[in-house]
């Protein structure tokens, strides 16, 4: 067994296997009286979609699902479980497989944080995993059951999520990795996500950056006497930065988007400074878009009114292997609207106002292709490629919904998200597509409609499948999520 920290913190892979799934089939009457009091009723008629479309549940009882994908024969793959949002409780990390016959099985993996995506591509499944100090991109052969870790060097162990992988018309694999820190500096808020398990995790820039030396003071909850410490950008919690200090940029950074060959070789960094590139989609023209979530208005580096956004990754249009300098999209110093985090419009009404962390930053690669209301929490998304479904060429985006009042004190933020929108990426506009009769999750507004859409993808049958994470209850002090309350919905044009 390794005896040095560097070796011990290297991921060593994990076991993966298939198992049967304990399930049944449901009728309408069962859906009116489910055994989960957190979500006792599922009722598609409480979900609003445009005239001419119908909604129906396909899978009920999912536990913290994160993504959905399809084989050409209509087999559905749902990634779920692990230690997710929040990190407790862990539910079995696995990919649920539902065949066109209705038969099911589970691809189970002995790994803590679990799968954050699933993508079918050329007969194999690709997924990303969090857990430990590195994010991983994995390929799993449906034919042989063999798994290969393709990418295993992306610094993680904190707040934000892997993105993709998605595959472009060029055959290349595109993937992302969110920031370790919530607010640009490792801080004690929500310590179960980062500090408790990964006290040495930190952000890594994609280019050389010079630091301003603006450190953030907070209490250190790990200490027997929780005294004040200073933490700097791109440093582990409790390590201050010095003014003028240069942090070297690395290929394997975070808050970033890359591409590589499908086997994970020839990795090329396209962009960094993207806080949480969880949702990624490429249209038929090969244009890559990623979602990004806004800063929070709380704590020791609080930032107000930062819009959610979708970035157009322009470097993805340049020939493979030719990108020498990645684009920078603003994290940790620029909000989605292009204004610095210390601009008067972003000063917080609670918490300590943010100071800039990077001196002479790279040129900002914005503006965003689309700006959304703060805390809508845009997640996974897909372009519509079908005339039959309608809205061809538009980007359908799942909005998980706000964590206010936990992450924002503003009453207007309380109902942002909880829907699927369709975005015209050329015009930068959007329209709601799927939501409850009253905006908000069913557990708050009543009825048996949706809770928190986390992914939406078009299936080979032309329907839009909306993956609903389930019930996550938010208070000013914490968030609690209930397992077995997730649902896969199917939206079909009549």
């Amino acid at each position: 067994m390794a005896t040095d920290y560097a070796s011990l913190r290297k991921n060593t892979g994990f076991s993966i296997s298939k198992s049967t799934l304990k399930n049944g089939t449901a009728s309408g009457s069962i859906l009116q009286n489910l055994p989960t009091p957190a979500r006792p009723v599922i009722n598609a008629s409480d979900v609003v979609v445009p005239e001419g479309y119908t909604v129906e549940p396909v899978m009920v009882g999912l536990s913290f699902p994160t993504d959905v994908s399809f084989a050409p024969d209509g087999t559905i793959f749902v990634s779920e479980g692990g230690s997710s949002w929040p990190t407790r409780p862990y539910m079995p990390a696995r990919i649920l497989v539902r065949k066109p016959s209705g038969e099911t099985e589970a691809i189970t993996m002995n790994v803590q944080a679990g799968p954050r995506s699933v993508t079918w591509h050329n007969g194999d499944l690709y997924f990303t995993l969090k857990g430990g100090y590195h994010m991983q991109v994995v390929r799993y052969s449906l034919e042989t059951g063999e798994m290969k870790i393709l990418i295993d060097a992306l610094p993680s162990g904190g707040w934000h999520e892997p993105g993709g992988p998605v595959f472009g018309p060029d055959g290349l694999m595109y993937f992302g990795n969110g920031s370790v820190t919530q607010q640009g500096v490792a801080l004690p808020a929500g310590f179960t996500v980062d500090l408790a398990k990964h006290p040495n995790a930190h952000d890594v820039p994609g280019q050389d950056v010079t630091l301003t030396g603006n450190n953030v003071r907070s209490r250190d909850p790990r200490m027997p006497y929780p005294y004040m410490v200073e933490s700097g950008a791109f440093k582990p919690f409790g390590t201050p930065a010095k003014k003028g200090e240069v942090v070297k940029g690395e290929l394997f950074c975070n808050s970033a988007v890359w591409r590589s060959r499908p086997d994970g070789t020839d990795v090329e960094l396209l962009a960094w400074g993207i806080r949480n590139p969880f949702g990624m989609a490429i249209n038929d023209d090969g244009e890559l878009y990623v979602t990004d979530n806004d800063f929070e208005e709380k704590g020791e580096r609080a930032i107000a009114n930062d819009p959610d956004r979708i970035w157009h990754i322009k470097k993805a249009r340049e020939p493979f292997g030719s990108v020498k300098t990645p684009d920078w999209y603003g994290f940790p110093d620029i909000c989605g609207d292009g204004l610095p985090v210390n601009h008067p419009s972003h000063l917080p009404s609670r918490g300590k106002a943010a100071e800039l962390l990077i001196e002479n930053p790279p040129k900002w690669a914005g503006p965003a292709a689309f700006l959304e209301k703060p805390h809508s929490c845009m997640c996974k998304m897909d372009f519509c490629r079908s005339d039959a479904f309608g809205y061809k060429g538009e980007l359908f985006v799942a909005e998980w919904g706000t964590l206010a009042p936990l992450n924002s004190p503003r009453p207007e933020d309380l109902d942002h998200g909880f829907r699927v929108i369709r975005v015209d990426v050329n015009k930068g506009t959007a329209e709601p597509f799927l939501h409850n009769k009253t905006m908000g999750p069913a557990s708050s507004v009543g009825g048996g409609g949706i809770e928190r859409p986390v992914s939406c993808k078009f299936g080979p049958d032309g329907s839009l499948y909306v993956l609903d994470f389930g019930v996550a209850k938010v208070t000013p002090g914490n968030m609690l999520a209930f397992a077995h309350t997730g649902v896969l919905w199917k939206v079909t044009r009549k």
Binding site: T25, T54, V58, V60, T104, A481, A483, H484
Partner: protein, 183 residues
């Protein structure tokens, strides 16, 4: 609306659900044992301490421990099960055993007086707090908010008590170990 698609119900069929509730019940029995042990230990320790402030802290804690035990019993009703009375009895015996263990540790560690009992309360409260915290996670995993709502205030009170107990144990250790004096 009648669905045209066959709906898959993941692990919510009656057999799977009943099995998982039975397993949760087994943990709740353990929780009750742990909590009974803690309550018994706190009650007995109050009598052994003379220092008025620590005695008052523990007396108030003993009242809370009774309420926590009631909360532990409520968990069984939420999942439609009955607690094992034998486990509760075992818990009280375990509380006594912990006092004996404390006496042994005290002798071997040169501690004197009721400090060793206080130290055992500190460990026992931590153990019980952990058992309630596990119950909270089971409530989340089963999709049952009533479990979470029942135990969250208990965990919060025990967490507060844990800080208090830690301070008392660390403050008084020198008097007990170096001076061999009771308090």
């Amino acid at each position: 609306m009648e669905s045209s698609t066959k709906i898959t119900l993941v692990e919510l069929d009656q057999e799977t659900r009943e099995n998982q509730l039975d397993r949760a019940k087994a943990w709740f029995d353990n929780l009750l044992l742990t909590q009974s042990s803690c309550r018994k230990l706190v009650e007995d320790t109050v009598e052994k301490i003379e220092e008025p402030h620590i005695k008052q802290y523990l007396a108030e804690m003993a009242l809370q421990e009774q309420e926590h035990e009631e909360k532990a019993r409520e968990l069984f009703k939420i999942i439609g099960r009955e607690p094992s009375d034998m486990r509760q009895l075992l818990g009280q015996i375990a509380g006594k055993a912990r006092q004996a263990l404390g006496d042994f540790i005290a002798v071997s560690g040169s501690a004197k007086g009721p400090w060793q009992d206080l130290h055992q309360v500190y460990l026992s409260n931590f153990n019980s707090m952990g058992a309630f915290a596990v119950a909270e996670q089971l409530g989340l995993a089963l999709g049952i908010p009533a479990i979470v709502d029942t135990v969250f205030p208990v965990i919060a009170e025990k967490s507060t008590s844990q800080l208090l107990l830690q301070e008392c144990v660390l403050e008084m250790c020198s008097k007990s170990i170096l001076y061999h004096e009771p308090f």
